[in-house]
Subunit: 344 residues, 2 copies
């Protein structure tokens, strides 16, 4: 089989890889670099300031979330149309850009694979339903599968585990890592830390300013509750590895939790509300605890030292590495090529 030519369509809200926040862009980057390392011919369609070992093709100079002069709708359609106008140069277009690219897909011959990174609202389902029998969908967890849609596979995200130093001798703090937003339960993490009588470090961008000011900032005192803003590698790796536990008190059905996997990679167990994909990411009692509410989370803290931190690491090595993710996508690419060969 000739070398596979993949057009990788990234979002343009952030750079690839993102400077701070940007999980979709991050996963796109991890997959792209992993594929290039495996010898796949990847062209990355992303912002002009993106960094990649693949061929970079950009129409949008930099992320629209970093420049109010860029109208998102304008640059989205210019970015997406660029891929489809060059569709015949590729064997497959792999879309990480939500639903809009689907609406161009019937106008070209190149097959389209879409990783559904989550449904921002049930209002977007009509597009996924329309293209259900035309496009190919990958779910990022079984929990995120919508019963109306057909999926070619569930592929969990994977991280570059070598970047995460394993730590068997944690310090005495709990960690919140993620955007500051009610969905992510920053406030609940504070309550749990207070009741458990342990320090909490909060790291991440403030996505909801009002929530931060009213529900988070009043508790931040620089001692028991600290807020340190967004953190990148290698600081993030140290911060994760030295935590006693990651508190993941989500208030929504999270389709995947990258920080959950990152914590376990560093040896840190996760206490998470049992919603969305959490039961697929965490082995209850072995790599953390799945809990129903804040009271249960406080209660579970008693068992935290019973968790074997090495097991957390092993669990991620087995199921959530970048290498495994790349393998899984390659399999799906080959399935689609085979299927297209039949029809074509």
């Amino acid at each position: 089989m000739a070398k596979l030519r993949i057009a990788m369509l990234a979002p343009i809200s952030w750079r690839v890889p993102p400077r701070h926040y940007g999980p979709w862009e991050w996963v796109t980057s991890l997959l792209t670099e992993g594929l290039v390392a495996r010898g796949v011919d990847v062209t990355l369609f992303a912002t002009g300031d993106s960094e990649t070992a693949a061929k970079l093709r950009a129409v949008c100079p930099h992320p629209y979330s970093e420049d109010p002069k860029l109208d998102p709708k304008v640059w989205e359609c210019l970015h997406i149309s660029e891929v489809f106008e060059h569709a015949d140069e590729f064997d497959l277009i792999h879309n990480h850009f939500d639903f809009l690219p689907l609406s161009y897909s019937r106008l070209v011959r190149t097959p389209l694979l879409t990783t559904i990174h989550g449904f921002s609202s049930p209002k977007i389902l009509p597009v996924y339903r329309k293209y259900n029998h035309h496009a190919h969908y990958v779910a990022i967890s079984n929990a995120d599968r919508n019963p109306d849609l057909d999926y070619i596979a569930t592929i969990y995200h994977g991280i570059p585990i070598a970047d995460y130093p394993f730590c068997d001798d944690p310090d005495d703090y709990l960690l919140f890592l993620g955007r500051i937003h009610p969905d992510k339960g920053t406030h609940e993490a504070i309550k749990v830390a207070q009741h458990a009588g342990m320090p909490l470090v909060i790291a991440g961008i403030v996505q909801d300013k009002k929530y931060f000011q009213e529900q988070v900032a009043p508790y931040v005192n620089g001692v028991q509750i600290r807020y340190i803003g967004p953190v990148g590698m290698p600081e993030k790796g140290r911060l994760l590895g030295h935590a006693r536990a990651l508190l993941h008190m989500i208030n929504f059905d999270e389709p995947f939790g990258l920080s959950v996997v990152e914590a376990m990679a560093a040896g840190t167990p996760v206490i998470a509300i049992d919603r969305g994909s959490m039961s697929e990411l965490i082995r209850d009692g072995e790599t953390g605890f799945l809990v129903a509410n804040s009271e249960d989370a406080v209660e579970s803290m008693r068992g935290i030292d019973g968790i074997d931190r090495r097991k957390c690491r092993t669990w991620v090595e087995k199921h959530f590495t970048q290498a495994r993710m790349v393998e899984d996508y390659l399999k799906v690419y080959k399935m689609i090529m085979k299927e297209e060969g039949k029809h074509g």
Copy 2:
């Protein structure tokens, strides 16, 4: 030449024709019905509740501006992709839906004509620039032509003039007709009426609630200043015809002013701020007055009885009828067919 098959792509913010507000949808309707009456084979892509003598093709059941359950971005892309997925059934796609359809146009063989109904922001220009040499653009006034773009023609909007009864014996009130928004100068119209010592009737939807509450409502007293909400035909025709003058104190470079043409059709002169397309729509001193500011507008009121109302009507009959608009578009369609024939 075989019967021309036109796909008419309407916006879906409102029904075609709109119930109240919706100038783009209204013009699309006037053109569609005029073409059908001339024997053209038109398929109207619009909301499902639209009314037309053309073939109606709808994916969006009703206007998204009337239903918060409909995500505009979702239904826009489903609506637009529907046209392009059936492009080979048409000789021409005529787009009234702003810039997004342009980004699909290179993926099909059918030529695309876009009537640019105005630029909401200079931020949208990159899309028009990219497709400048691929798509065909119609300007709705010379004032609205952007120097970076090439246009196949300027085609002024036209109205069904028979629906507007001519009135040579107006009552003693001034009229504001349009959406209540700072751009439209509702507040300035009130000031002019007060200084001229004449009653003012305000008709239109409230588009900017804060502006209405702070700059309009405090002056509404039901006697000298009256607000009557949106009006449709035939009430609108009577209201226009019986006004002494229409006050069009715009604060932006308006690309076209349908109410300006409607007023003159009914015999009513227009006092307008000389911005945007106004000098193309109004003959200064003959069908109204082009003024620089509110003081000049008050001053110009002295000459209003010197305007021959019959001349206002004749001016519209000559330049701004639906029939003339239909003719102009047919000419453009034929130009494009001829050009495509050369290339094809």
